[in-house]
Structure formats: C-alpha cells, structure tokens
C-alpha cells in the first residue's frame, strides 16, 4: 500500500502535524480517500464501481493506511470485499491534528462522499486513534444533523483507547514536573516534550470535543472516568481489544502495551469476567500495532460486520 515515504510522512504528521498544518507546511497531510497509495478525488475512476455498502477504514496515530496491510499484501478492507462484498474506502489524515478537528474533517469528507457515490450502508472501522476520530465525527454529524450518520449500520473499533491512554497521561505529568525543575536541561526536555502534537495530547483522556480539551489537567487519573461523550445509540458498536499477555492481571494492566483492556473495551472489561461480553472481542498475544493486521482480529471483524445490523 503506502510507500516508505508516505509512512515517514504519516509518522511525522502524528508527531508534529498540528505545527505543520498551522505553519502551512507542504508536509502536512490533508484528509482524503486513498487508493493504491495515492489520494483520490471522489470523481476518480477507481471509485465509480463503489457499491451500496462500504467500509470506511480510519488508521491510527503516526501511521498511514499502510498499517492495515498484511505481509501478503491483503488488508481488512480487501478481505471484507472478498467475503462480504463490502467496498473499502481508506482514509488518510494528519493524525497530529486534534481529534475534534479530524472528527469534523471526517464528517465533512463522508458528507461529500455520500453526495458523490451511491452509498446506502456505511461500516465505520477505526484503529486506535482512528476509532476516536470516528466517534468524534459521529458526534459532529449528530450535532450538525448530517445525512451520512443515518447510513451508518455499525462501527467497529480496533484497539481504540476509549477511556484514554495512560502513557500520554504519564507523559503529561512528567513534562509538567520537568518544567518545574530549576535546571536548563530539564526545561529543555520539558519544552521538547510539549512539542508533541495535539493529536497525541488528546489521547490522554480520549478527548472528542474542543470543550473537553480545554479542561485538560496534568494528572495520572482519568479526568472523567465516564466519558463525557458516550457511544451513540443510533447504531451498534463493536470493540476489539488486544493483549500481549495471557495472565489476567497483567493483561488488564498492560493490555496491548499501548492501550489497556478497560480503555479498549470502553470500561466493559472485568478481569474476573467468566462469560464473553456482548459486542466485545479479545485477542491474546498481540501487540498494539499488530491489531491492525491480524488474522484473528479479522475473524472477529468479519463476525461483527457479517451479522444483521
């Protein structure tokens, strides 16, 4: 899929993409649909055969659509097309922008897409930060009464930190502490840490709205354990969480090494749960990045997308 150059630019955008966009830098990625490693307009020939049911795939922080690619070149989108006849639409975006900004951009992109293509049903698939962007877009569409929201039949979140990422919250506290140390090197380190993008900072509390971002505070604990923007009730939501470990306690604490299980399951995970949780799937012995291209994850994804909405 994407070239090494696009992957590098995706990583750069994730790290400092807000700065790139603010300064009008040509390296800033604009949100677009991608086909064969190239951004395509909605009038592009490759989109003319788009069917009535599409899957919109939104990648995560510091990556591009390449994150979906298996070693053999396949990806969830192509596999869903093969197995369910769902037409994949890959989104590329600047993951360094704030999640609310990207949510609004995605909402507008989907509105334009709906106007240009004969789409009846939309499956939203978000990986990691992409899941939060999907949620933010739905929130934006709900407020703006956008037509595309009515076509969404379901959303699947893969390794999405619905309740925030402890790593970012720890980084926030560390950065604040460093800034208070009366030492020029420590202050420099704090300044460098603060250069991380708005997108990264939003991951700490899974901020989906601008007003949530404004309330941010440097603390390890979640600002709001019950997320201020609940999952919309307009369509079903499915969650896929990964864990690097088998042991119950360790996997609860560390999850896939980036997102904890309680966060990936939007608080539904209980380490002593005996029965499966409805709408939630777990995959063991997988790290965060591999969740985007794992055969076991795809089996769950297929099950979630194949059932009656």
């Amino acid at each position: 899929m994407a070239s090494l150059l696009e992957q590098a630019i995706g990583a750069l955008n994730g790290a400092v993409g807000d700065y790139l966009a603010r300064t009008g830098n040509g390296l800033a990625t604009e949100m677009c649909l991608v086909r064969d490693n190239r951004p395509v307009g909605l009038d592009h020939a490759s989109l003319r055969d788009t069917g009535p049911r599409v899957a919109v795939l939104v990648h995560g922080l510091m990556c591009s659509e390449d994150v979906w690619a298996f070693d053999d070149g396949g990806d969830y989108g192509a596999m869903l097309q093969r197995d369910l006849g769902v037409h994949p639409l890959y989104v590329r975006y600047n993951s360094g922008l704030s999640i609310p900004e990207n949510g609004a951009l995605l909402s507008r992109l989907l509105e334009r897409t709906l106007a240009a293509l004969p789409i009846q049903q939309i499956i939203l698939i978000g990986y990691s930060m992409g899941g939060l962007v999907v949620r933010s877009a739905c929130h934006d569409a709900k407020l703006g009464e956008r037509a595309w929201l009515g076509r969404v039949e379901r959303a699947v979140y893969v390794g999405t930190p619905h309740l925030g990422a402890p790593l970012e919250r720890a980084g926030r506290v560390l950065s604040r502490l460093l800034g208070r140390v009366d030492d020029p090197a420590a202050r420099l380190a704090a300044t460098l840490a603060e250069l991380r993008s708005d997108g990264i900072k939003d991951l700490g509390d899974a901020d989906l709205r601008h007003e949530d971002r404004a309330r941010r505070a440097p603390t390890f604990a979640l600002r709001d354990p019950r997320h201020p923007v609940p999952l919309l009730e307009d369509f079903p939501h499915f969650l896929i969480a990964g864990s690097r470990f088998d042991d119950r306690l360790t996997r609860t604490l560390f999850g896939d090494l980036v997102v904890t299980l309680p966060s990936a399951t939007d608080g539904r995970w209980r380490h002593d749960a005996a029965r499966p949780i409805e709408g939630v799937a777990f995959v063991d012995r997988v790290h965060h990045v591999a969740l985007a291209h794992d055969a076991r994850v795809y089996e769950h994804l297929l099950g979630f997308c194949g059932g009656a909405p």
Binding site: I9, L20, T23, N25, G26, L27, A28, R38, P39, P184, A185, R187, L188, T191, L192
Partner: protein, 95 residues
C-alpha cells in the same frame, strides 16, 4: 506539484528545527555557563574573570547566530531554486 510542495515543506521544517533548536540549546548553554561563571566570580572576583565571561558570552551568541544566519541563507537559496524549478516544470495534474 505535490512533490515540490513537500520538498518546500521539508526545507521549511529543517529551517524551523535549526532556528528554534539552536535558540533552545543556546539558552541551555548560556544558563549552564552562567552557573560556572557565577561560582568563579564568587571564588575569585576580578576584572579578568568578568572579561573571560563577557568574551565567552559574545562568542557563544555569535556562534549560534552564525548557524542561524547560514541556515536562513541556505533556506532562501533552496526556496529560490524550488521557485525556479516550479516555473520551469510543465504543469501536471495534482497527485
């Protein structure tokens, strides 16, 4: 033209990194040196120590500013070259 736009972006980003990075490092350098000179002036207050400090501070400031001036000149030259390349190349479809 997307390729040229990205090259421009890379040039601008590298310029920004040197500009802001050199200022940050200069600040650390000056703060660290100031502590050493403060101790020296406390132990042996003399015009000679103060002169050495003044010479050091001037040298540091000139060195870092020199780096920034050269970077700005290189950035301007590259931007000009990209402008010429853009004018010289035939227009193509976006992408």
């Amino acid at each position: 033209m997307r390729g040229l736009s990205r090259v421009r972006g890379l040039v601008a980003l590298l310029g920004d990194v040197v500009e802001h990075g050199s200022r940050a490092v200069e600040e650390v350098h000056a703060s660290t040196a100031a502590r050493g000179f403060a101790v020296a002036e406390w132990v042996a207050p003399s015009p000679r120590v103060r002169a050495v400090r003044a010479a050091h501070d001037l040298g540091v400031a000139l060195s870092y500013e020199g780096v920034r001036v050269v970077t700005r000149a290189a950035r301007s030259t590259l931007t000009l070259a990209l402008d010429v390349a853009e004018i010289a190349s035939p227009p193509r479809d976006a992408g």
